[in-house]
């Protein structure tokens, strides 16, 4: 089955093409085609996994050279796919979670005017994401990188008639573009210093070892720049909360489970190139984002924006882990997060579906009565993210925290614990505000249909039991990934393992209790009235977005204005129009030759004869 690995990205691509061209005619069948394609990819990936597992660990790499793409001088680029432990993990997550979200969308997007187009875009996204993670060289990876950015734009702005959605999609694309610029410069440097884009040539220790530390730091930081954009870390995080304007399945798939994890995948894939300095930068940015986003999440009233900030925070954790060298741990967090975050987003979508599109939690409350299934599933997700064992979230977060502590990074450990506290707190806030307490709305919510509930249930199950893959940092997944990622660093000291685990659980429980105390009653309203500024600060993300809007955005617009109006309209168009005017002027002069009178023509004729004779006379 490894031989047919190309089918894994090809099936969604075919689905997208068919839905784009024949979508209207297919009608509701387009909503069957989309999930089927992704499901097919999942099955093939699973079969490929078994084949891969049949090999000994050192040989679990399969490179599929599909065709020669282009040659440019010394550069040969082929359309190559690589199946190893890392990419296998990613494609299983992408196709598995993707399939469930596709099925959910059948119910969620039911009745939408552009129903087939949604599935086309969704399939297209899956294709690009699979291309990204299956790439064997940086060029194919970049194709996928740009492609997921494009699909993100298309899907965020799916309801483009809404100005907020159109603006959000623009913002997402432009912000990630900034990161992509760094990424491309990094790619250029890779070509200059390695002479190739192929992973086998670039990402082996020997080639990297031949370069200076400074060069490697520069290259890795440039690549990480792209990751900052795509994975919405500080300072390029501003697009993710606004991206919630898109339909909820989009938020679940792209902005929780897959596209935003592309940055993490990139760092793990190219970790050979990261020097201690660049890893420190990764770690710092990850931790800072985790803390910043967790605080901001506490102040969000919109259910989806809260989850968006939560995603930011969890991604920060993943980068934090990667920055410490624990790539296997970061990958498990990626997998677990995909499950529980997608679950929470879908459940939030279920709530919105039942509340006729309402997203403001201050207008909800007591929904447990009307949507018991959704509430239960959501709470499973909430407990997971809070890090209560034996659900997977604990096995994701605790290794990170303990690694921080036991590798001597005491301050980082404290800050990470603070972020963990806030994580549990804001999640509890969400649950209690939405599902418990007095009902603050007149709407009578209804439960979601089975087509939406079953995927959620499956995700919840995954979130619950996935922990079995990583009970220890050297668990199943880590062992599987080890040929690619290497082992985490040595433990220097710090508290013993069991103590750290207890601390983590206690923090989580304390946060949940606090959340119940404040939000399951009406105490939060009083708090908000007493400290309005705090709430506003947090809700606006410490006014980071506003800062950009007042500084960088006007500056950019000014430069763009000069380019568009000054240069393009004035100069370029001026040249072109000037040529036109010049031609007109010359023509106005020249056409006076056409007098229409025979005698002038005869005179000109004679003049020509005169000249010809002159030439002939001179030449002989």
């Amino acid at each position: 089955m490894l031989k047919y690995i190309w089918l894994v990205p090809a099936l969604p691509l075919a689905g997208a093409a068919v839905n784009l061209v024949f979508g209207k005619r297919l009608g509701k069948w387009s909503g069957i085609l989309g999930p089927v394609m992704v499901g097919g990819s999942f099955v093939i990936s699973l079969l490929a996994l078994f084949e891969l597992l049949g090999k000994p660990p050192e040989e679990r790499v399969y490179v599929a050279h599909l065709w020669d793409w282009f040659h440019a001088g010394a550069l040969d680029v082929g359309a190559d796919l690589r199946v190893d432990a890392l990419s296998m993990t990613m494609i299983l997550v992408v196709t598995g979670v993707g399939f469930l979200i596709h099925v959910y969308s059948i119910g969620y997007m039911h009745g939408d005017r552009l129903y087939p187009r949604f599935f086309a875009y969704l399939n297209l996204f899956v294709f690009f994401m699979l291309t990204l993670v299956l790439a064997q060289n940086f060029v194919v990876l970049f194709i996928g990188w740009e492609g997921v950015g494009l699909c993100s734009y298309l899907l965020i702005g799916f309801w483009f008639e809404k100005p907020a959605a159109a603006n959000a999609s623009k913002k997402a694309f432009i912000t990630t573009r900034v990161g992509d610029t760094f990424f491309v410069v990094g790619l250029a440097m890779i070509f200059v210093y390695f002479g190739s884009f192929d992973f086998d040539k670039v990402l082996n220790g020997h080639a990297a070892g031949a370069l200076s530390v400074g060069t490697l730091t520069a290259i890795s930081l440039l690549l990480f720049g792209g990751a900052i954009g795509k994975s919405a870390q500080i300072p390029l995080h501003v697009w993710l909360p606004d991206a919630m304007e898109g339909p909820t399945p989009v938020s679940a798939l792209i902005h929780a489970a897959t596209m935003v994890t592309a940055g993490v995948y990139l760092v793990v894939r190219t970790h050979v190139l990261f020097t201690p300095t660049s890893l420190a930068v990764v770690m710092f940015i990850g931790l800072a984002t985790a803390l910043y986003a967790a605080t901001s999440a506490v102040g969000q009233d919109d259910i989806k924006r809260l989850l968006a900030y939560s995603t930011l925070s969890q991604l920060g954790y993943m980068f934090f882990a990667a920055g410490m060298g624990a790539y296997g741990v970061a990958m498990f967090m990626l997998v677990a997060h995909a499950f529980y975050k997608a679950l929470m987003f879908l459940a939030a979508g279920s709530v919105m579906h039942g509340m006729e599109g309402e997203t403001d939690m201050t207008k909800m409350g007591g929904l447990k009565k009307y949507m018991p299934l959704t509430a239960t599933l959501f709470m499973i997700g909430a407990i997971t993210i809070a890090g209560i064992p034996p659900l997977s979230g604990f096995f994701a977060k605790d290794p990170i925290l303990s690694l921080a502590n036991r590798s001597g990074r005491g301050l980082a450990w404290l800050l990470a614990d603070a972020a963990a506290f806030l994580t549990a707190f804001y999640t509890a806030r969400l649950v209690f505000l939405t599902f418990f307490g007095e009902s603050r709305t007149d709407k009578h919510a209804h439960e979601s249909p089975k087509v939406m509930a079953v995927p959620m249930g499956l995700l919840a199950a995954g979130a619950a039991v996935a922990g079995v893959l990583a009970i220890t940092p050297e668990g199943v997944l880590a062992k599987f990934l080890e040929p690619v990622t290497g082992l985490p660093g040595e433990f220097v000291g710090g508290l013993p393992e069991w103590a750290l685990m207890v601390v983590s659980v206690l923090i989580a429980l304390a946060a949940i209790w606090l959340g119940w105390y404040v939000y399951a009653s009406t105490r939060w309203r009083a708090l908000r009235e007493r400290y309005p500024y705090v709430h506003d600060l947090l809700e606006n993300g410490w006014y980071w977005d506003a800062a950009y809007a007042n500084t960088i955005v006007p500056a950019g617009k000014w430069v763009a204005g000069i380019a568009a109006f000054g240069f393009d309209t004035g100069f370029i168009d001026g040249i072109v129009n000037g040529l036109g005017s010049l031609t007109k002027g010359l023509a106005a002069v020249g056409r006076r030759l056409q007098t229409g009178m025979v005698r002038t023509y005869a005179a000109v004729f004679l003049f020509g004869v005169f000249v010809v004779l002159l030439v002939l006379a001179v030449r002989s």
């Binding site: 005698r599 002038t600 005179a603 004679l606 005169f610 004779l613 006379a617």
Partner: protein, 188 residues
């Protein structure tokens, strides 16, 4: 001075004078008459150059048929019609003679360089004109140049038909105004 030289130096000025006067006359009939005089002088030159046949043909065809046709048309279109002296195209009166003199100079130079101003005509013309000029011309015309001969005869027929077609359609448009071509047509 031999006979040829005498004839040349008498008729050449007449020829040039007739041409110039033709160009300058304001009355078209006078122009035509001067042109006829010019044609006569040229016929004489043909004779001097050893082609009595062309001498005759020139007078019969050119002076006798073509110019008569011209005179008919001039009379048809208004004998007393005179051109105004005012020239509407700027510089035309200056450019035209200048260019003509220029061309003349060029060709004169070419002649001088090519043929030479003093070269004499070769003798032995009698060999070529054996049996008389007409017979010699006939020998060449009906053998080597037979195809052009036939084609030009077709050309003449076509020209005659063209003239009839071109001038025919207007007869119904302006009844009674044109008499010449109409009567000529019926008479033919």
């Amino acid at each position: 001075m031999s006979a040829e030289q005498l004839i040349f130096w008498v008729f050449a000025p007449i020829s040039v004078a007739a041409a110039m006067l033709m160009v300058i006359q304001r009355n078209a009939i006078h122009s035509a008459l001067f042109l006829i005089l010019n044609f006569f002088t040229i016929a004489v030159f043909y004779l001097v150059l050893g082609s009595p046949f062309l001498f005759a043909v020139q007078i019969i065809v050119y002076a006798g048929a073509i110019m008569v046709l011209f005179l008919f048309v001039i009379m048809l279109l208004g004998v007393d019609r005179e051109e105004s002296l005012k020239e509407r195209i700027r510089g035309q009166r200056i450019i035209a003679p200048l260019l003509a003199i220029g061309v003349l100079a060029e060709i004169f130079t070419a002649v001088r360089l090519g043929v030479g101003l003093a070269a004499k005509a070769p003798g032995g013309w009698d060999v070529v004109n054996q049996g008389g000029n007409a017979q010699a011309l006939a020998r060449v015309l009906f053998r080597a140049y037979f195809l052009p001969f036939e084609i030009t005869s077709v050309l003449l027929i076509v020209a005659a038909i063209a003239a009839m077609v071109l001038t025919r359609g207007r007869m119904t448009a302006a009844p009674g105004a044109q008499d010449g071509p109409g009567e000529g047509e019926e008479a033919a």
